[in-house]
């Protein structure tokens, strides 16, 4: 390991993996639980960063977190209302909101990039509080542990169980006197809050906020989610959530190694896209391969019988 990747590179990969795990957890809720493919993730991530940065620049580093999350809730709320109350296809609802957010993000930021170099943020405060070289890691870990704990608690409540059932069996949900419009709305609001929180933390981590920073985020988060669920299995809900976090960390380590091996940074998005496409297509490819094997065997057996 030492030759390919230094400890410092590994550490920052883990830090990034932990923060980006919040986006993967957001998709864990919307994609795996609610079965809604929410394409507003990219814009929502940038929105969180923009709102968080503006509030931090105004001198409120703590307020930046709830402000960013609140903005994410709003974004999720709009996406959810479009699909549950106004009959907009869920994919389209996400795309529409994502497009609208581009303008909103520029309006929030006032320009296309913000510089947080000399601003007090949670990370600079953590440096003072924790000291040493691990303050970023500690802060990121703190957030992830808190989010996973709250999320797991929430998914065991009446509302959380209803959200999980909504994506699992629609007819059972209605027969259980649950309004799917409510569960989808709450689910997307929570998922928006987590995405925006991740955006806010990444902005503070990198000390910059850019209008294009969210591009491709949904694919990258899906890749982490799929890596997590494939490698760490689909056992209990708790293990799945932990698997998603580890998947995100693993993804960032692989990226760090790839960059170390001189892969151009611009190739990252293609690699993520291929991972997601292959992982989602795999069951279909397997089924087709099995069918063709069977068909070939049956045809061969028939030919043999004719020859006799």
């Amino acid at each position: 390991m030492g030759q390919i990747i230094s400890l410092g590179v590994l550490q920052s990969a883990v830090e990034l993996g932990l923060v980006y795990a919040l986006v993967a957890l957001a998709l864990f809720l919307s994609y795996s639980m609610l079965n809604v493919c929410d394409l507003s993730t990219d814009g929502c991530f940038t929105l969180g960063c923009a709102v968080g940065a503006i509030v931090a620049l105004a001198g409120h580093p703590f307020l930046a977190i709830p402000a960013a999350m609140g903005a994410g809730v709003l974004s999720g709320f709009v996406t959810a209302q479009l699909q549950t109350r106004f009959g907009v296809e869920s994919l389209l609802a996400g795309i529409i909101v994502n497009t609208g957010l581009y303008t909103i993000n520029i309006l929030v930021m006032g320009k296309v990039t913000l510089n947080l170099n000399s601003t007090t943020t949670l990370f600079t405060m953590a440096k003072v509080a924790f000291g040493g070289g691990y303050y970023k890691l500690l802060l990121a870990l703190l957030f992830v542990v808190a989010v996973v704990a709250v999320l797991l608690w929430f998914l065991g409540t009446r509302l959380g169980l209803s959200i999980r059932a909504t994506g699992d069996n629609a007819s059972m949900v209605r027969a259980s006197s649950i309004n799917p419009a409510v569960t989808v709305t709450v689910g997307l609001c929570v998922s928006g809050a987590l995405t925006a929180l991740a955006g806010c933390l990444i902005g503070e981590y990198n000390k910059t906020c850019d209008i294009n920073m969210g591009t491709g985020m949904v694919t990258i988060a899906l890749a982490s989610l799929i890596i997590g669920e494939t490698i760490f299995g689909r056992k209990s809900i708790g293990w799945r959530a932990v698997g998603v976090v580890l998947g995100s960390v693993l993804y960032r380590i692989v990226v760090a190694i790839a960059l170390r091996l001189n892969m151009p940074a611009s190739a990252l998005k293609l690699v993520s896209a291929v991972i997601v496409a292959v992982a989602i297509a795999l069951p279909t490819i397997r089924a087709k391969a099995a069918f063709y094997r069977k068909k070939r065997a049956a045809l061969a057996a028939r030919k043999e019988r004719k020859a006799c």
Partner: protein, 268 residues
């Protein structure tokens, strides 16, 4: 008490596929009635159930359940008081959630539990106790995903879920038709146990004429979106399947045309 008054529903009105599924249908169901419903395919049996549950709103008429007008109440609100079991055993349970989680959702259905309420140890003990009544060993598999259960087990679990909170009305839409005969008998006897123990008001669609006459206290026959025959208690007690078929022919002017009904076997 369920009252259905002059209910009508037409699907695809104004097109070549126009279908009058319910025609000015009225039905009074006193508390404690167990009604079996028979009729040929397309007679409107399932449509009647869907109208009661609110899968669609009726074009005309009214539905009153336990004194409350539910004609324009959204589907999910009606299910506070109605238990519904479908023919397809996959429809009533969430496959990727555990038995315990499925039961929790059913348990919270009545709406009195808080939004952020979690199942307590006492609740779990209650689930165990209820599962044990099914006599399928499910009480020892509470942490298993429901997707691993057989169709019969899933239907039995659905039955438990539909009656967990005593409903004012239980709808059984051929709920044993997709099961193998032995399992169907088992699920049916469980159903009868629960219905009689809790004195549930129940409507049950069946294709089995013998079953229709032997179960419950009242039988109605539907044809073309209307009720063509309604017999109960003593009148029904003396009837044979042949009587039922003759009455049907007299009521509609045509013979019953559903093979599944005519071929259905007498239960042991």
């Amino acid at each position: 008490m369920l009252s259905i008054r002059h209910l009508s529903k037409t699907f695809n009105a104004g097109t070549v596929n126009e279908k009058q599924a319910l025609r000015d249908l009225s039905l009074e169901v006193p508390d404690g009635d167990f009604i079996t419903i028979i009729g040929s395919n397309g007679a409107g049996k399932s449509t009647l159930f869907n109208a009661i549950c609110g899968t669609f709103y009726a074009d005309a008429g009214e539905i009153v359940l336990a004194g409350a007008d539910i004609t324009y109440l959204p589907e999910y609100k009606r299910y506070h008081e109605i238990g519904h079991i479908f023919q397809d055993p996959m429809k009533g349970t969430a496959p990727h959630m555990t038995i315990e989680e499925n039961l929790s959702i059913a348990y919270f259905r009545a709406g009195r539990a808080g939004t952020l309420r979690r199942v307590s140890r006492a609740d779990k003990a209650l689930f165990r106790e209820q599962l044990a009544l099914l006599d399928m060993g499910l009480e020892d598999r509470m942490k298993s995903p429901v997707g691993l259960l057989s169709g019969g087990q899933r239907q039995a679990l659905t039955l438990l879920m539909a009656t967990m909170v005593t409903p004012k009305l239980l709808l059984l839409d051929e709920h044993t038709a997709a099961l193998d005969p032995a399992t169907a008998d088992k699920v049916l006897s469980l159903t009868m146990d629960i219905v009689s123990a809790r004195r549930l008001t129940c409507l049950m669609v069946t294709h089995n004429m013998h079953q229709a006459l032997s179960l419950g206290n009242r039988t109605i026959m539907m044809d073309g979106g209307k009720i063509v025959l309604d017999v109960r208690d003593e009148t029904r007690a003396g009837m044979t399947v042949q009587d039922l078929l003759d009455q049907f022919a007299a009521g509609t002017g045509s013979a019953l045309d559903a093979d599944r009904i005519l071929l259905s076997k007498k239960p042991q």
